[in-house]
C-alpha cells in the first residue's frame, strides 16, 4: 500500500521533471553564476543580495521562464577576496554558467572584469561602486547596474545647495582609496558652494573604537558631518556616535550609510541620519510597485537596497538574453550595450560608451515609518543629474 503510493509519487515526479525538461529543451537555459560573499567581511551584504537574486530567478522560473528559457544558477562563495571570487567565477564560467553576477567588493568585480574574455563570460556588477568598473578598467563584457561612486557624489552638490543650511562641515572617512576619494569629492562640492570643511579625519579600516574620532568631530566647529565608512566600521561608528550624542548634536550625512542592514544592526542609533540613498520601496514605478508587493507577500516586509540590487542584476541579464534571443555572452553583451532596460527605477539606458546603467539617485533620511525605522527618500535627482558623463572608458 505504502509502496504503491511512493511509486505513484515517483511517477508523478518523473513526469513533472520530464515536462519541465521538454520545455527547457525548446531553448537553451540561462545559466547564471552567482558569485557572492558568504564568508569574510562582506557576508551580511552577500546574504541580502543573494536573497534578491534568488527571488528574481524564482519569480522568472515560476512564470514559465524567460522567453521559453528556464534559469539555472550556481551559487559560490567568494570569501570576500578577489582571489576567491576569481576562483569561483572561473569555475562557473568554464562549466557553462558564464553569465556572472553578485560580488560586493569592487576589487572582486575588477578581478573578474579582467578575465571575462578569457573565460568567454559576461559580468553584471550589482553591488560594487568603484568608478574604475566604468572607467579605466571597463570592458565590452562588463556592465555596471549599480550606482557608481561618481553617481553618489554627483548629487551631493545639488543637494547641499538647496537643502543644507549648514556652513561648516567635518568629514570622517575610512583611510583608504574609497574613503579618501569620497572626502575629496565632498570637500570640493562644499567649497564650490562657499561652505567650509573644518576637519577631515581618516580612520583605518577595521577600527573598532571610534571614540577618539568622535571626540574630535564633537570638538570641531562643524555643524554637520560627512561620513564615508565601510561595513562593520560603519556599524560600530553608528552605535558609538549615538552613544556619545553626536547624532543629536550635529547632522550626520552618510555616503553609503543609510542602508537597511546598518539600520537593523544598530537599534535606533541611525534615527535621523541623512545620506545618499540608492533605493527605497516608495519609488513610484510600475516595476517597483510589483516587486514590493510580491516581496511583501513572500517575506512580510519591504525589500532592502541590497536585496533590490541583487534583484536588478538578474533583471539586467534576463533582459539582455531576451533582447539577444541568445545566451551567448558576446550576444548578450552587444544586446545590452546601449539598450533601454525596464528597471525598478523606471526605464534606464545601459550607456553604450561605458556600460553604466543611467538611473536616478536619491538623498534620504532614516525615519520611523509605521513604527519601524528605515531610510526614506527626501529628495530625488533624475538620471540626467545623477549620472555623470562617461570618463576614461573607451569601448
Amino acid at each position: 500500500m505504502k509502496t504503491r503510493r511512493i511509486t505513484n509519487l515517483l511517477a508523478a515526479a518523473v513526469l513533472a521533471v520530464a515536462s519541465g525538461a521538454s520545455l527547457a529543451q525548446a531553448k537553451e537555459p540561462i545559466r547564471i553564476g552567482m558569485v557572492t560573499s558568504q564568508s569574510g567581511g562582506f557576508t551580511a551584504q552577500g546574504e541580502d543580495s543573494l536573497r534578491g537574486m534568488q527571488f528574481a530567478v524564482d519569480e522568472a522560473n515560476a512564470s514559465g521562464g524567460v522567453a521559453g528559457r528556464r534559469i539555472e544558477v550556481q551559487i559560490g562563495d567568494d570569501e570576500s577576496t578577489p582571489e576567491g571570487g576569481r576562483r569561483v567565477a572561473e569555475k562557473f564560467a568554464r562549466s557553462g554558467y558564464n553569465l556572472l553576477v553578485g560580488p560586493i567588493a569592487s576589487s572582486i568585480s575588477l578581478a573578474l572584469g579582467q578575465n571575462l574574455q578569457r573565460w568567454d563570460a559576461l559580468y553584471v556588477s550589482t553591488l560594487s561602486k568603484s568608478d574604475r568598473i566604468t572607467g579605466d578598467s571597463c570592458n565590452m563584457r562588463m556592465f555596471q547596474a549599480n550606482h557608481s561612486d561618481a553617481m553618489d557624489l554627483a548629487i551631493v552638490q545639488p543637494w547641499l545647495k538647496d537643502n543644507a543650511k549648514e556652513k561648516r562641515f567635518a568629514i570622517l572617512a575610512n583611510d583608504y582609496i574609497w574613503g579618501r576619494d569620497s572626502a575629496e569629492s565632498f570637500t570640493k562640492a562644499a567649497q564650490k558652494l562657499g561652505k567650509e570643511v573644518e576637519l577631515s579625519v581618516f580612520a583605518p579600516i577595521g577600527t573598532k573604537d571610534f571614540a577618539p574620532y568622535i571626540a574630535q568631530l564633537k570638538n570641531s566647529g562643524a555643524e554637520a558631518v560627512w561620513v564615508a565608512l565601510v561595513g562593520r566600521d560603519l556599524i560600530a561608528f553608528a552605535k558609538q556616535a549615538a552613544e556619545f550624542g553626536l547624532t543629536t548634536s550635529k547632522r550626520i550625512i552618510g555616503h553609503a550609510y543609510i542602508m537597511s542592514f546598518v539600520v537593523k544592526a544598530t537599534d535606533s542609533a541611525t534615527d535621523g541620519v541623512w545620506g545618499v540613498l540608492n533605493y527605497a520601496p516608495e519609488i513610484d514605478t510600475p516595476r517597483n510597485k510589483a516587486l514590493v508587493a510580491a516581496w511583501r507577500k513572500k517575506f512580510g516586509r519591504d525589500p532592502s537596497e541590497n536585496e533590490v540590487a541583487g534583484y536588478s542584476g538578474i533583471q539586467v541579464i534576463v533582459q539582455g538574453v531576451e533582447k539577444a534571443d541568445s545566451v551567448k555572452p558576446t550576444a548578450v553583451a552587444s544586446a545590452l550595450s546601449g539598450a533601454t532596460l525596464d528597471t525598478v527605477w523606471g526605464p534606464a539606458v545601459m550607456r553604450a560608451e561605458d556600460h553604466q546603467l543611467v538611473k536616478p539617485n536619491y538623498v534620504g533620511r532614516v525615519k520611523r515609518v509605521g513604527g519601524e525605522l528605515r531610510p526614506v527618500i527626501e529628495t530625488a535627482f533624475e538620471a540626467s543629474i545623477a549620472t555623470p558623463a562617461p570618463t576614461t572608458c573607451k569601448l
Partner: protein, 339 residues
C-alpha cells in the same frame, strides 16, 4: 679497516651524496612525467584551472614549509612575499617590456629584502616570531591598501603584460592547461634545487640549528647567518609563487598580502606535513580539492574543514606526507622480513 679510518667522515658523506643524486634525478623525471600526464589526460578546463591554482599555492607552501622544516619557525607573514612579488612583477611589467628580467629581479630583490629583515628578526623566539612576522606583513597590507597611484589601492591592480614573456606567448601563462605545466615544472625544479641544497652541509647545519641552536654555537658554528639564509630562500620560493600567480591571473590585490592568506597556507603546510620538502605541496593540492568538493555540497565548508583539520592534525602528527612515509616504511619492512 685502518685505511678507511684516516678520513672516513668525509668519504662517508660523499658516498651518501653520490647515491642520492641518481635517486633524486629519477624521482624528478617521474614527477615531470606525472605533470605531463595530468596536463594531457585531464580534459576539463574547470579541473585544470583548479589544479593550476593548487600548484601555484603549492609553490607558496613549499617556501613556507622550508622555513618550518629547516628553521622550526612559523611565519604568519609570508603572504607579504607572495603579494609583494605579484605587485613588483605588475609594476615592473608596466614599466618595461621585459617581464622575464622583471621576474628574476623581483625574486632576487625579495631575497635580499627578506635576508636583511631576517638578520633583525630571527632573534625573536618561538611564537613571538610568528606574531612579529604577522605584524610586518599586516603593515605592508595596510600600506598597499592605502596607497594610490601604481598599486591601485584596495581595488587591486590589473597587470598589462606584453605579448611575450620568457619567450612564450602570454596566453600560455593564462591558459590553465599550459600554466599548470609551467607551474608544475617550476615546483619540481624548486623541490629538486632545495633537495640538492639540503644535501650539502647546509642541510644538517640548519637542521641542527632548528633542533638546538645554542648547541650549534658550542660546536663552533655561527647561527644567525644560516637562519637568515633559510628565511631568505623561503621568501624567494614564496615569491616565485607570487610571480606565477600574477602571471596567471593578471591581477594583484592587497588581500593577497593579508595574514589570513599566510594562515591558510600554514594550514596547507601542516596538513601536508613539514618534515619532507614535498609535504606542504601535497597539503596545498589536498586543501584545494577538498574545499572545492565540500564547497560544492554545503555552505558549511568552514566548519567541516575545521573538524577535518583537527582530525588530521590529531591522528597524523606528521601530516599526510608523514602518514604516507610511515605506511611506505611499514610495507618495506614487512616485505623485507618476508624476503
Amino acid at each position: 679497516m685502518s685505511a678507511t679510518l684516516t678520513a672516513p667522515a668525509l668519504d662517508g658523506a660523499q658516498v651518501k651524496r653520490a647515491s642520492r643524486l641518481p635517486r633524486l634525478l629519477s624521482l624528478t623525471s617521474v614527477a615531470v612525467a606525472v605533470g605531463l600526464a595530468v596536463s594531457m589526460l585531464v580534459e576539463s578546463n574547470t579541473v585544470m584551472s583548479l589544479l593550476t591554482q593548487a600548484v601555484i599555492y603549492a609553490v607558496f607552501a613549499l617556501g613556507l614549509g622550508f622555513l618550518l622544516k629547516q628553521n622550526g619557525m612559523v611565519s604568519f607573514g609570508h603572504a607579504l612575499f607572495f603579494g609583494l612579488s605579484g605587485y613588483l612583477v605588475g609594476v615592473g611589467a608596466s614599466l618595461t617590456g621585459s617581464v622575464g628580467t622583471v621576474v628574476v629581479l623581483t625574486i632576487a630583490g625579495i631575497g635580499f629584502f627578506a635576508f636583511a629583515l631576517a638578520l633583525v628578526i630571527v632573534r625573536v623566539p618561538g611564537i613571538a616570531f610568528g606574531m612579529l612576522t604577522l605584524a610586518i606583513g599586516q603593515s605592508f597590507y595596510v600600506l598597499v591598501s592605502k596607497s594610490r597611484g601604481v598599486t591601485g589601492g584596495a581595488d587591486g591592480m590589473s597587470i598589462e603584460f606584453p605579448p611575450r614573456v620568457f619567450g612564450l606567448e602570454i596566453g600560455a601563462f593564462q591558459d590553465p592547461a599550459s600554466m599548470f605545466l609551467i607551474s608544475w615544472l617550476a615546483l619540481v625544479a624548486l623541490v629538486l634545487a632545495l633537495s640538492l641544497l639540503l644535501g650539502t652541509r647546509f642541510g644538517p647545519l640548519t637542521e641542527a640549528i632548528r633542533e638546538n641552536e645554542e648547541r650549534v654555537r658550542f660546536i663552533g658554528f655561527r647561527t644567525l647567518l644560516p637562519r637568515a639564509v633559510v628565511f631568505a630562500i623561503s621568501a624567494m620560493v614564496t615569491a616565485v609563487g607570487g610571480a606565477l600567480s600574477a602571471l596567471y591571473t593578471g591581477f594583484v590585490s592587497p588581500e593577497s598580502l593579508h595574514w589570513s592568506v599566510s594562515g591558510t597556507v600554514l594550514i596547507m603546510v601542516v596538513l601536508g606535513g613539514s618534515r619532507t620538502l614535498w609535504g606542504p605541496a601535497v597539503g596545498a593540492v589536498v586543501y584545494y580539492l577538498f574545499r572545492d568538493y565540500v564547497g560544492e555540497h554545503t555552505t558549511h565548508w568552514m566548519g567541516i574543514f575545521g573538524v577535518s583539520l583537527i582530525a588530521v592534525i590529531v591522528l597524523w602528527p606528521a601530516g599526510i606526507a608523514g602518514g604516507v612515509m610511515h605506511a611506505v616504511e611499514r610495507i618495506k619492512r614487512g616485505s623485507g622480513r618476508h624476503a
